[in-house]
């Protein structure tokens, strides 16, 4: 009794600053204005801050900052939002703002709107400091705490680590020391976004996962694989699980083989040091190609939630088998000098900062199997490379030939496999290739393709992958992000390949060609051929 009286009198003396207790029946659980049937209203994240480490880097300038402007322009950022940059520069808020403005103007997808920028620019801040500087991190923590009140971000913050993996331990340690990563301490949520590479083999990936997951909770770690943010990749799930037409033939009874290609026409463009230590298999195959494979081959998730989809993807990744004969079914190559698109280009070993005797691969192709009832016996051919004729990413499902053809052999000479091709980029869409009669008095059957072009059927410009992924991070939706177990399962596939390749010379291929000969022979030996994308 006495306690409560003293408390009450203390409140009285403090005057009107004491909070008024809200009666329980005045509280509401959900926002009454949000209605799942009302699909006109956009999904907008809660008030929050986005803290970017390494904000002066290439990725931040070309992708991240423009994506944030695009989100603001589309009205998808909360009213209370702060963009906080952290880097070792002697800068004020204004310097950072002008950098952000310049990169948004240069690289944003949506048109420039001065009003939108004027609003955003008031919410852009900068904290200078190096990663091993305790004072700088104390300032950062203090700044976020202050913003909680002044900008109403309520303790919510996402940290984007746009920094080399070598810096992770230092930064994460600092965040732990200053309680930046703690949900409980901040009173809101704290999330972290990590870019690839997620390690360079299973052991290093485990170490990295442990490091990040120890500081943040595993559910608050978002690993960005920007391929998964692409509209067509998400459409793959709609295609497979919303339609009755494809799923019945999506198995070893009907599918002959699957080819997944990610080709780039560019060389290594200024990434020599990183690339020479990494190679095509670690850079692309381990993450992008295996993720595309997992989405193509996974079983139907029990519901369309992050957890259910990750469960199915993980099952597939764990069922992947490597071929017995690696000499035949695992090929790596390195581009030699050649001509590409009418221009002379130098060999990989002639690129700036690449040692002349480098054995790093710029091309990798491998045949994988999946040991499940659905896919047993179906080869999955994966390939990726640089300096190939064109930039293209696609998933091609090749169906078996009809068991019996009532036509004479000469009638169907030009008939190939039926194919369903999911074009991830460019010209996002789906192609169905099937046999059709050639007009005329003869019965001749040849392949024709039917195209569904995303850009034509839905002419609304698809959001850039980073836009979608950043929005998902702020909303806390991890559907499109690989979990740590997936990363580890992928390394488990790649590690034996890297071990086999170690010390071998990669096969040379001329720049501007579709990879080394050995890669064509790999399919030729199976009686198949690479599709020309």
């Amino acid at each position: 009794m006495t306690d409560s009286t003293t408390e009450a009198s203390a409140e009285d003396t403090e005057g009107n600053s004491a909070p008024v207790e809200t009666p329980a029946d005045d509280l509401v659980e959900v926002n009454p204005l949000r209605d799942p049937r009302d699909r006109r209203l956009p999904r907008v994240p809660e008030p929050c801050a986005l803290v970017v480490f390494g904000v002066t880097g290439d990725l931040a300038r070309k992708k991240l900052l423009p994506a944030i402007y695009d989100l603001a322009n589309r009205g998808l950022l909360p009213a209370d939002f702060v963009l906080l940059g952290f880097a070792r520069r002697d800068w004020g808020d204004g310097d950072f703002e002008s950098l952000a403005k310049k990169s948004a103007q240069e690289h944003a997808r949506t048109e420039w709107n001065e009003d939108v920028w004027a609003r955003l620019s008031g919410d852009i801040m900068f904290v200078p400091g190096s990663f091993d500087d305790d004072d700088a991190f104390d300032t950062l923590a203090k700044t976020l705490e202050d913003l909680s009140e002044s900008h109403g971000i309520k303790g919510n913050a996402a940290f984007y680590l746009s920094i080399p993996p070598a810096m992770f331990p230092t930064v994460l340690q600092q965040m732990e020391r200053t309680h930046l990563a703690s949900n409980a301490h901040s009173g809101g949520w704290r999330r972290v976004v990590v870019e690839k590479p997620f390690g360079h083999d299973l052991d290093s990936a485990r170490e990295l996962n442990k490091l990040v997951d120890d500081v943040f909770t595993a559910n608050d770690v978002f690993r960005i694989d920007h391929y998964l943010g692409k509209e067509t990749v998400q459409n793959l799930m709609a295609l497979r699980f919303a339609n009755q037409l494809f799923e019945p033939v999506w198995n070893a009874n009907f599918v002959d083989s699957v080819q997944i290609t990610m080709a780039e026409d560019v060389g290594i463009a200024g990434r020599a040091v990183f690339y020479d230590a990494t190679g095509a298999a670690r850079d692309v195959l381990q993450n992008h190609l295996l993720q595309l494979l997992a989405l193509t081959a996974m079983e139907e998730p029990v519901e369309f939630t992050a957890e259910a989809i990750q469960t199915e993807k993980l099952k597939v990744l764990r069922a992947i088998t490597l071929p017995q004969d690696l000499t035949r079914y695992a090929v790596r190559g390195q581009y030699d000098q050649g001509w590409q698109a009418g221009e002379r280009v130098v060999a990989y070993t002639g690129e700036k900062d690449v040692p002349a005797d480098s054995t790093t691969e710029t091309y990798a192709a491998v045949r994988l199997g999946i040991d499940t009832r659905r896919w047993a016996g179906v080869p999955f051919y994966l390939r990726t490379g640089k300096r190939l004729p064109r930039r293209v990413t696609e998933i091609a499902v090749l169906f078996k030939k009809a068991p019996h053809l009532p036509f004479s052999h000469t009638d169907t000479e030009e008939l190939g496999h039926n194919q369903l091709v999911i074009r991830v980029q460019p010209d996002e869409g789906v192609t169905l290739k099937f046999g059709s009669k050639v007009p005329g008095s003869l019965m001749e059957v040849r392949d024709v393709s039917m195209d569904f072009l995303y850009g034509e059927a839905f002419t609304e410009a698809s959001p850039e992958a980073y836009e979608r992924l950043i929005l998902d991070v702020l909303l806390g939706d991890s559907t499109l992000f690989p979990r740590n177990a997936e990363v580890e399962a992928s390394w488990r596939v790649l590690d034996p390949l890297e071990e086999f390749w170690a010390g071998q010379q990669p096969e040379k291929y001329r720049a501007g060609e579709w990879g080394p000969k050995a890669s064509d022979e790999m399919l030729g030996g199976d009686g198949r051929a690479w599709r020309r994308p």
Binding site: P32, R37, L41, T459
Partner: protein
Amino acid sequence: MTTLWDTTGSAVVKALAAERRTGGGVTSGLALTLVVVMEEKDTADVEAAVSIAASRHPMRVLMVIRHNIEAPVPRLDAEVSIGGRYGPGETVVLRMYGRLALHAESVTLPLLAPDAPVVAWWYSETPEVIAYDPLGVFADRRITNAIRDADPAASLHQRAADYAPGDTDLTWTAITPWRAALAAAFDTVRVRTNAVTVFGNPVDPSAQLLAGWLSSRLGIAVPVEKAEGKYISSVSVDFADGHQVTLRNDGHKLVMVRPNQADSIAPFPSRSTGDLLAEELRRLDPDESYADALGAVTGLTGLNDRPAVRTHIWHDPALANES
């Protein structure tokens, strides 16, 4: 572009097929057919709107212009074009004279894209009862525009009385940014709402629909108070814990005023008719939230439970004028 004078519906179908072959166009991308009911004087406005909407939704557009019904001899003139000034889609302008205007569906039915949804849009005045217009009966979605009716204030009541699932109005589309901003303002509040007031023009259909929507979601009466401005100028919300939030339209900005916090400013671009039309075409199923808001404005209930299919009611304006 092919122009046909004094022609028939079948000749238009042939001309469209020919234009497609020579233009190199393919059917693969057609998502819907949009039937625009308009008057000759609206041509420029409709063209501008359609070209914006067509760049976001691949569609076939049929523009139906009815000329003097009293003309003694019925006649059909048509223009067929693919691409060009109407945007990337296929466009057919149909000018109907005389009694043909009462049988417009006989021309449009064979021109509808196979098995794709049909959307009817009355650019100017909507018929009092949509079932009077056969073009509305065949449409899966119907878009009206109360602000262009002779008496916008009374128009919503007529729309509610005549409502069938699949109807929407552009005055409703226009307030999506307001609704998004209000929903975002409520996101961080966990207490009951005591009172809401919409300030603006009390007879503006958009202001009425915004108040109707708030009232249908919050379960309290929401008045529209007279204030400066033609449409909606601000909305103020009183919460049960005593704090008040005001959202104010400040030209191209939306300002949110909250106690103990700096004003938050969001972009609030003005949208053209084309933008509104494009938003409407995004969804081809009934809009339940609109029905709820319309019901709250007019006091009618059960709008969502009405049958979605209309039956054509024969309505001859010549006879109607006599009686």
